[in-house]
């Protein structure tokens, strides 16, 4: 089956191409304190950052990388399809539109505190342009040992065949770190973002990886608020997904109607409650870990079980 939107194609490329594992990336806001810190770390990790954009700083260089005034020039001179966005939230809408107008196909939107209306606008515009947004309020995406676009540290991640989809940044690191310690490397770790509106929601992110032969298991790191986990659980049932899925949900002990740090982490009545998510995952046959350290244990149990079934066949 063909992937509708091949995230690996975009992030890593084709094995026999010249730019395999060196897909060009532009950083919007590269000279800011946040953007510059993380650009250096991304470069050190192997990300091929080919240009940066900061209005008014065109013509300068950053670590030998050319800086442009706008996305049109940056894309024109590099041909990049990926943009890592490190602009402040009030400038996000225009920066994202400019990126999409320039031909960017993947926006990794790191900024937190983007107004919901702006997220919806960018999302609609990206659809028009046949492009995709990850985030906002995402730690980004990482293909361990190949490249990363975002703010995640390097050391929790290792290469393997598990995919981690997470609504939280630090929990993505924490869970991946626990997986790595237990010997479960990751093929891709994908930050959905902590906002109520996600450019790529859990189900869409799952759809990007569900049919890949190099993915053996999926770990979903959810949290209270909204119904993204419930919808994913429904989708697992609907598609009879047969690979191992393990979930973890944060926020069981949080009070209702309080925003727990993330704009999207809020429970109204039963809507968005941890119980509702547990119940749906249970229905879908997905074990839910009680704490991050339990994720690799549950994964090991499940994989062992499926292994035994295979042996008996």
């Amino acid at each position: 089956m063909k992937h509708e939107y091949d995230i690996f194609q975009l992030l890593v490329g084709n094995e026999h191409d010249e730019d395999y594992k060196k897909q060009p990336v532009i950083i919007q806001g590269i000279t800011g304190s946040f953007g510059s810190t993380h650009s250096r770390l991304m470069i050190a990790y192997g990300t091929n950052i080919v240009a940066g954009v900061t209005p008014g700083k065109g013509g300068q260089t950053f670590e030998g990388i050319p800086v442009f005034d706008n996305m049109y020039e940056a894309v024109k001179s590099t041909g990049a399809k990926i943009s890592g966005m490190f602009v402040p939230a009030p400038f996000f809408l225009n920066a994202a539109k400019e990126a999409l107008d320039s031909g960017i196909k993947l926006l990794v939107a790191v900024p937190e505190h983007v107004p919901v209306r702006d997220s919806i606008k960018v999302l609609e515009y990206a659809r028009e342009k046949d492009a995709r947004m990850i985030g906002p309020n995402t730690p980004g995406v990482i293909v361990p040992h190949v490249m990363k676009v975002g703010i995640m540290p390097a050391q929790p991640f290792s290469n393997g065949d598990t995919v981690v989809l997470s609504r939280s940044g630090t929990l993505m690191y924490e869970v991946s770190y626990n997986l790595t310690k237990a010997g479960f490397g990751q093929r891709l770790c994908f930050g959905i973002g902590g906002d109520p509106i996600n450019g790529t929601n859990l189900t869409e992110a799952f759809d990007m990886i569900r049919n890949r032969d190099d993915v053996r298991s999926v770990v979903v790191v959810g949290e209270i608020g909204g119904d993204a986990e419930e919808l994913l659980a429904d989708y697992l049932i609907e598609t009879s997904f047969s690979k191992t899925v393990i979930a973890y949900i944060a926020g069981r002990a949080a009070p209702k109607e309080k925003r727990m740090g993330h704009a999207g982490a809020i429970v109204y009545g039963n809507y968005g409650s941890a119980e509702s998510k547990f119940m749906k995952f249970e229905k879908a046959g997905v074990p839910v870990a009680k704490r991050p350290a339990e994720v690799p244990m549950l994964l090991a149990q499940r994989l062992q079980k499926t292994g035994l079934v295979d042996a008996n066949c």
């Binding site: 924490e174 109520p196 909204g226 727990m260 993330h262 982490a265």
Partner: protein, 367 residues
């Protein structure tokens, strides 16, 4: 930001949406003046942001002077689900023919705004069978869609016209003010088939506040939250005695869950975000030091980019300056955690390799 009913109704007024005549009062004197101005029957409504006021006895009817002050006294001192009122709305009772329901909300799963309308107002919308749900464009509701909604609800003649007008105005408010939710439950149908909003539940997108300086006056946060917000922290006060600090909302939520599982009671949720420097950690401890019930502090910091010795330095400084005197239980992964461990030796702070160990110890400490 959730507005109080009277604030929501102020916004309604601005958009030409009818609300009953009312006065916000904070004293017996003001209550008396309001009743003289409005005339009986009146309804006294506690101004709190939590729902279910009716069931909680926070809305009381008044038919004469002798009831007014006793009922005012009851309401002004009454906590509703832990919240004291910020005033009492004294509202004139209107003669109601029937009730309708209307709300606009940010539909997270459909990633757009949606409308819910029903001809059965006054009850919780979850329990209503007969309702219309529609997605609406970011530009707002079209006249045609509003008319179709009215038809689907079986509204005809003058009510139809009034409802379309009401819906269009409310839609404009939602879009222009960047609300996440506006719910009117119920809308009263009055004689002459005009409509008036009996209640107003309005939640504004906090992240859009920079575009709405005129809404700033409705913001109501504690001194502690203000201080935390200034430093870029997210703080939620909880009722236990273990302060929980960490980097990242998910991680801190997860830590609160684990502390609860271990039999402990979290006293605060503090996410200091991505910038873990000596200064930010110190500021976080400063915020925590103002919460008097705290008996111990649990730090869960997933580092990597963070230098852990900077965190250790902040904790040492906080003890040295007598900012805190309770023990700190910390789990800090990241660069140079050995150094951090050595630095904290001999202080009231202890570093653990896993969060489970730190939680075990902190719960023992406070129990």
């Amino acid at each position: 930001m959730r507005l109080l009913e009277f604030q929501g109704k102020e916004l309604f007024n601005k958009y030409g949406i009818s609300v009953p005549e009312a006065c916000l009062v904070n004293s017996r004197d003001e209550a008396m003046k309001a009743s003289a101005k409005l005339g009986y029957p009146l309804v006294l409504k506690s101004q709190v942001t939590v729902g279910g006021r009716g069931k909680a006895g926070a809305i009381l009817k008044c038919t004469n002077d002798s009831e007014l002050l006793p009922k005012f006294d009851v309401l002004i001192n009454k906590e509703v689900k832990g919240e004291l009122p910020r005033g009492i709305l004294v509202e004139k009772v209107v003669a109601i023919k029937s009730e309708l329901y209307l709300s606009f909300f940010l539909n997270r799963s459909r990633r757009c705004y949606s409308l819910i309308a029903s001809s059965e107002g006054g009850i919780e919308i979850e329990n209503v069978g007969n309702k219309v749900i529609l997605d609406i464009q970011l530009e707002g509701l079209s006249q045609a869609t509003a008319e179709e909604t009215a038809r689907k609800l079986g509204l005809e003649g003058n009510i139809h016209k009034s409802f379309v007008d009401f819906t269009m105005k409310l839609s404009k408010l939602v879009i222009d003010e960047e609300a996440e939710l506006v719910e009117v439950n119920p809308i009263a149908v009055l004689s002459g088939d005009t409509l008036t909003a009996l209640d107003a539940k309005v939640i504004i997108d906090d992240n859009a506040m920079f575009r709405h300086p005129e809404l700033k006056k409705y913001e109501h946060i504690s001194e502690l939250e203000r201080q935390a917000g200034k430093s870029g922290f997210s703080l939620v006060e909880l009722d236990g005695n273990i302060a929980i600090i960490g980097n990242g909302a998910g991680l801190v939520m997860s830590t609160v869950d684990m502390v609860t599982d271990a039999g402990g009671k979290a006293g605060s949720f503090l996410d200091f975000g991505g910038r873990a420097t000596t200064e930010t950690i110190y500021e976080a401890l400063e915020v925590i030091s103002r919460i008097k019930r705290i008996r111990a502090i649990l730090v869960n910091l997933f580092g990597g980019i963070v230098k852990t010795n900077l965190v250790a330095q902040a904790i040492l400084d906080a003890y040295k300056n007598n900012l805190i005197d309770v023990p700190v239980f910390a789990r800090i992964t990241g660069a140079e955690s050995d150094k951090a461990k050595a630095m904290l030796g001999g202080s009231q702070a202890k570093l653990y390799d896993t969060v489970e160990q730190a939680i075990h110890e902190v719960v023992l400490q406070v129990s």
